[in-house]
Homo-oligomer: 410 residues x 2
């Protein structure tokens, strides 16, 4: 199915809110083999909503809108739908009941604005919202189904999942294989894979999705014809051969998930010692439900005194070699395993900038070390970019290095 997503909200245009709803929906639809052909973000403006829904309904097989259903006057989506369908707002008693129950259950006093959200355009079918106050809506325009969802991410997701399961379903024949590749620049990887891609027909495609230090490579097939299946398998084999050394995962997962999976398989644990990443590696490792199986905890040693007091880094080491040095990184990795007993200890110390760089150790200089019962490895990185970019590079490099060491052990 060709699907258009319309995100509604002034806050999206002004960048006060990042449009994560569209990317989440794109991911779910693409995983189900559908194609999002366009994401359109417009403001809370009735006439623009009317115009864009009308136009998009002519070129899509289905249409999702998110946002503009809130209780405040700057939300215009339902008014636009009433105009489109020439209908009035009516009270939906079932949604009203859900709202009342929600307020009662948390002991909060019901207010009129929240109750207002139980009113819906009469010509729409209602998709009840049990996770919030504004219900989803369904109607057809130019015979295209249009699904209208609230903008609050977790409410949107619950309603979207129901629609995907019951009404949209999965496309036939679509399949993708994803590899995570670390340590090769995109241009070099592309050069290696060029001959493979050159041989593709329209049934296959290859996509590169680079983020800080990691490339997500997707091989996609669009049907299940015999020649397509054969070509897909050959291409996958070639990719593994040409990029094998740098492939860190052959699943569609995050680096942290790959590390978590390998640790759980081996019943191993890892503790973190973070300086410039300030807790982000711990944050990534605990994003995954059940992370207590492999992650006991970590120490954020931002100040040098904490490196010494909590991580047992010799203060003479810091004095002689500096806080950002191979020696300090090694002692941090060893020290975290003493402070928080774990099979592996990963340590990061670096200069994320914008200040603190020197000629010898410019901004972006990051040392990463991983310790285990059999030894310690350390590696120097020189990242480029802004503070947040350098920190993300460091998180990925640390997760990748730990992953390699855990895999290599035995």
């Amino acid at each position: 199915m060709k699907i258009v997503l319309i995100s509604i909200g002034d806050e999206l245009l002004s960048g006060r809110t990042v449009n994560t709803n569209a990317s989440w929906q794109g991911r779910e639809l693409s995983n189900a083999g559908h194609q999002v052909v366009e994401v359109l973000t417009i403001g809370d403006d009735r006439s623009r909503i009317v115009q864009n829904l009308t136009e998009a309904s002519l070129r899509a097989d289905a249409l999702f809108t998110t946002g503009g259903l809130g209780p405040t006057d700057d939300d215009k989506t339902t008014a636009a739908i009433c105009e489109l369908l020439g209908c009035e707002m009516v009270l939906n008693k079932e949604q009203q009941k859900l709202i009342v129950e929600r307020f009662n259950s948390v002991g909060r006093q019901l207010n009129e604005r929240s109750l207002k959200q139980a009113y819906v355009p009469e010509a729409c079918e209602v998709i009840l919202n049990r996770w919030g106050t504004a219900p989803g809506l369904r109607f057809r325009l130019n015979n295209t189904p249009i699904y209208v969802l609230p903008g609050v991410p977790f409410e949107m997701r619950e309603l979207f999942n129901i629609i995907l399961r019951d009404e949209i379903g999965s496309a036939d024949g679509f399949h993708e294989q994803v590899w995570l590749i670390q340590g090769l620049p995109e241009s070099v990887l592309a050069e290696r894979l060029e001959p493979i891609e050159g041989s593709f027909s329209d049934n296959l495609s290859l996509a590169y999705l680079p983020s800080e230090g990691v490339i997500r490579l997707r091989l996609i097939r669009y049907n299940e014809r015999e020649e397509t299946l054969g070509a897909f398998d050959r291409a996958a084999g070639e990719i593994v051969q040409r990029a094998g050394e740098w492939i860190v995962s052959d699943r569609n997962e995050s680096l942290a998930s790959a590390l978590a999976r390998v640790l759980v398989e081996r019943k191993a644990t890892i503790a973190t010692a973070e300086s410039c990443t300030g807790g982000l590696i711990g944050g990534a490792l605990t994003e995954i439900p059940g992370s207590s199986r492999y992650y006991p905890g970590g120490i954020i040693s931002y100040a040098n005194e904490v490196k010494s007091s909590a991580l047992h880094v010799n203060s003479a080491t810091i004095e002689q070699f500096g806080a950002v040095s191979e020696e300090t990184a090694r002692e941090m990795a060893a020290g975290i395993r003493l402070a928080i007993p774990a099979d592996y200890g990963v340590a990061v110390t670096g200069i994320a900038g914008p200040d603190g760089g020197t000629a010898e150790k410019p901004v972006g200089t990051v040392w990463i070390a991983v310790a285990s019962s059999t030894g310690i490895e350390a590696r120097l990185h020189s990242f480029r970019g802004e503070r947040d970019v350098i920190r993300n590079y460091a998180v990925n490099a640390a997760l990748g290095m730990a992953l390699k060491m855990v895999r290599a052990s035995k």
Copy 2:
């Protein structure tokens, strides 16, 4: 200026990449008083790029595109521009020189694909890219200026800033005041502010931007006429009166920045003890350059043994009251100040889910405590949502609680 942003890339439609470029540009343009009227995300498809650039050039005062300039075959933006302008690709020697220098400076071998990025559509002016390989481009279509930028965020930002400074500038008369409001649901805040908003003319507007537990409230004026200035000041005064108790900042900043600012003003420090947030509070506090002035570090005590060993929580406390309890939160907050000496200690322990909830302590139960030399405060929260949502709520609640305590301490 009315501006349209066009984001180009299959990875944006399929949700593999979140479109943070559009939100960043939206923020910068809106801060300069311009209005982003539409963000359009389309795939790497030459004919769609041609069509959408043509259409958008008719309804915008300026147009920015990002993405599709990469070295791989799935990038189509320059080909589309050649088609639009009826021109060929030519080598830009200055950009070529920059690419060669870049590769030399990091000691990497130059490859043909990277050099290919020095080729540009002949009819475009080039905006040299000193931060990456693909240059920016500038041309006019239907007399509307179109700026073509690479999709790599930090390269895009550098080029965008040059264009904003030298060519777009700031709109006259635009001004906004932002308040961060914590502890009031959006619907309740809106009810309180309804009378103010009802009195607005077209010269003023009010926008609510809720995120997990925090509302960013913006009061905007669109000109500098005398009556507008007066109405703006009256509205600002009313807002402070009606929401005062819940206003945690009157600047356009993050909660972490607000806390950082107050800590620096008072020359105070804070250490973190995190369980379910797994390092995200440390991550937020160190997002800000110069964070070592107020943040010595923290301990991520995901496992109960770490709460005892590293944070000095009595294991009898955990046994009797549970890891998620007021008693444990209080001991964690006190313990982090012993482990990492700091003026304040903030501790979070909770159940982020999806598993681990009980009837008595359901998923979303989070205890937060803040300790100082004068005592400890603790508060119970019941958050709703998915794991990531609950964790974000907890981060914001912890930062807000610390902020209030630091402010109150005097």
